[in-house]
């Protein structure tokens, strides 16, 4: 969690105002025609989201236009690969939101978040406190009538099921260190590549491989298809390879 007293105080003020939400919105006098949600939607906050949707009548996270600019300033001038398999240019298009947009950011603060960066205000998937810090420094600020940020606390101990449901591998790794040994999970296979486990769940059992990074020592939990039967096969699958094709010579 953040140690910044100013940030903590501001979060407390925002949380209080959100809990008094209808009066808060009336007090702002916003003509809301759009609600934009940033961040994840944790289960305990779904009633709030429903209320916001009902109030605004619609919910969208679609930007109205785009602006040219580098979304990763610290990588300015570099080249790489995009997730869609194209050679990546440093200048990406970033979304520009409509004025009078009410933005609701819901999420969990965790230590893996990068340092504040004004460009992050343009990202819709940014974890919540980085987003709040960024928006306060950003040219996006005048465009937003209101930003509501809700920080969730992480329950302890964390169960493997909660770890498996986390959206980000680094965040998941951080959760893993707070994870109690789950009595319901059982080991299917263990070898030099990791430990393949299955976590019973009501709808579909979750099969996942627990691995440890050789240099950072961080533990990760990677979900794999239910057809995988060995830890070696599981790790190979995560790289689109068969077990006999996956033999890394060097790792770091």
């Amino acid at each position: 969690m953040s140690d910044d007293p100013e940030m903590i105080a501001e979060m407390a003020r925002i949380r209080k105002r959100v809990l008094e939400y209808p009066a808060f919105v009336e007090g702002l006098g916003l003509g809301l025609d759009e609600v934009t949600f940033w961040g994840s939607t944790p289960q305990p906050l779904r009633p709030l989201h429903r209320m916001l949707r009902a109030l605004a009548g619609s919910c969208t996270n679609q930007p109205v236009t785009y602006q040219r600019g580098c979304a990763e300033p610290h990588l300015e001038g570099r080249r790489g690969y995009s997730p869609s398999g194209r050679i990546w240019r440093t200048s990406r298009e970033r979304p520009l939101y409509r004025p009078s947009t009410l933005c609701v950011a819901v999420g969990i603060d965790w230590p893996g978040l990068r340092a504040p960066d004004p460009s992050l205000a343009w990202r819709t998937d940014e974890p919540v406190l980085a987003l709040l810090r960024a928006v306060r420094q950003s040219p996006a600020l005048p465009l937003l009538e209101c930003l509501i940020v809700i920080r969730q606390s992480v329950p302890e101990p964390v169960t493997l099921m909660e770890v498996a449901g986390a959206w980000n591998e680094e965040y998941r790794s951080w959760l893993m260190n707070r994870c109690s040994e789950d009595e319901d999970a059982y080991v299917i296979d263990r070898d030099d590549y990791g430990t393949l486990i299955e976590i019973p769940a009501a709808r579909e059992h979750i099969r996942a491989v627990k691995v440890t990074c050789p240099t950072t020592g961080r533990r990760y939990l990677l979900r794999v298809p239910p057809t995988v039967t060995t830890a070696h096969e599981a790790v190979a699958w995560t790289f689109r390879l068969a077990a006999d094709e996956y033999r890394p010579t060097v790792q770091s």
Binding site: R78, G80, D125, W167, N168, Y246, P248, T249, S252
Partner: protein
């Protein structure tokens, strides 16, 4: 030599035929292989001279190391202990299973 650094795997492949290449950049001395969404940290190949060539072929990300001396770096990982041997590689990004469809890892 198959090289792994975190969620990135460099898999040696035979040199692709010219007609297989869909996009190719100019040789460079620094190339970003992947960027972490939350941390902003990047896996990069770095060389002393312009000996790194990025290319794509049918949606696959390819890497051609032209000469000895290239290294893979990342702020959170130790450097890969050996230089990357000159040859063609396919860059494989780790993925995770979801019931709908596999998705690349987000870090």
């Amino acid at each position: 030599m198959m090289i792994r650094q975190g969620d990135i795997l460099l898999r040696p492949i035979p040199a692709p035929a010219p007609e297989e290449i869909t996009e190719a950049g100019m040789p460079m001395s620094r190339l970003v292989l992947a960027v972490g969404e939350a941390t902003g940290h990047a896996h990069e190949v770095i060389a002393d001279d312009d000996s790194i060539l990025a290319a794509t072929a049918g949606g696959r990300a390819l890497l051609h190391i032209l000469r000895d001396g290239a290294a893979i770096t990342h702020p959170d990982h130790d450097p890969v202990p050996r230089p990357v041997p000159p040859r063609w590689y396919e860059i494989l990004r780790q993925r995770v299973y979801t019931p709908a469809q596999p998705r690349p890892v987000a870090d």
